[in-house]
């Protein structure tokens, strides 16, 4: 399903619970959407870099199972953006439901 523009919000949501690395973030989004949001994983990292440049997430190196990994965690600014995005999404979703009706 096309969900253009919402990937940064989904990444922030995935990181809100705990810090994570790219592959786990991608799998988490796919699993939580029960496979509906099946995006190309090569597009995940540019979105993560953009969020990092904007100060919404920060990255750090960690070692897991003997493998060096770049992990990401949400910042205070990221949580504020996520809260705003959630409110916007609820409003949009309610408005569309009012027009299309409950399924």
């Amino acid at each position: 399903m096309n969900f253009k523009g919402t990937l940064p919000t989904l990444i922030l949501e995935a990181l809100a619970a705990e810090p994570s690395y790219g592959y786990r973030i991608a799998q988490g989004i796919k699993e939580r959407s029960q496979g509906v949001l099946d995006f190309k994983e090569g597009t995940l990292y540019p979105a993560l870099h953009k969020l990092e440049n904007e100060g919404q997430v920060e990255s750090y190196e960690t070692v897991e199972n003997g493998r060096s990994r770049r992990c990401y965690r949400i910042t205070k600014a990221g949580r504020a953006v996520l809260a705003k995005d959630r409110a916007k999404w609820r409003e949009l979703s309610r408005a569309v439901t009012m027009i299309l009706g409950e399924a």
Partner: protein, 211 residues
């Protein structure tokens, strides 16, 4: 060359060396995790590698997105070589004092013209001294925070606009194409700098990005 190497080569086209290394490292890590999981769920090595590569998607699309979020090679070059004038001036005391003194000298000339009741000349000289001061004194000012740099850039664009309007006004707009031609280069470099500012966190901004 493996299929993954080809994917990486296409996805990192036109990126700077630092960006390439970063992309390479994160994609190799991602690919490894994806392949290991596929093997764990019973796929053969070939199947697992094909699945992991397919999951990455189109390299051209990844490249387009990477170029929006990471430095390209031309932007990295602009950062490396873009401030040689400032370095040249700041490293030579004679040049440094000359640059500092020039706007002051024009300002004093403007004041003298004002006392001699040459009001038009005085106004022009004072405006020129303001513009020179903004453009030449920038590197010597303590500008290293986003707010200060935004204020400075506002003054800089005001000065550049004033120079253009003054040149166009004095030549009756007949030479304005020449002024526009000169300002085009400045505008282009500034456009590139805006792009670089978006791609680098403020903590990693070199000093020249503040101007």
């Amino acid at each position: 060359m493996t299929a993954l190497e080809q994917w990486l080569m296409r996805a990192t086209r036109c990126l700077s060396q630092e960006s390439r290394t970063k992309v390479r490292s994160e994609i190799l890590d991602h690919y490894g995790a994806s392949r290991d999981e596929a093997i764990g769920s019973g796929a053969t090595l070939q199947e697992a590698e094909a699945t992991a590569l397919r999951a990455l998607g189109e390299p051209a699309e990844a490249n387009r997105l990477y170029r929006q979020s990471l430095l390209t090679s031309s932007e990295a070059r602009l950062l490396r070589e873009g401030n040689w004038e400032v370095r040249a001036i700041c490293s030579r005391p004679v040049l440094r004092w000359l640059v500092l003194a020039l706007p002051v000298a024009v300002f004093l000339a403007g004041i003298i013209a004002l006392f001699c009741r040459s009001n038009n000349l005085a106004a022009e000289l004072l405006l020129v001294s303001f513009c020179f001061s903004v453009l030449l004194h920038g590197p010597f000012l303590p500008i290293y925070t986003p707010l200060r740099s935004r204020i400075y850039r506002g003054f800089k664009w005001a000065a550049l606009s004033a120079i253009f309007l003054m040149a166009a006004w004095s030549s009756g707009w007949s030479g304005s194409w020449l002024s526009l031609g000169c300002l085009w280069t400045v505008g282009w470099i500034e456009w590139r700098r805006i792009s670089i500012r978006r791609k680098l966190p403020i903590s990693r901004w070199p000093r020249q990005l503040h101007f």
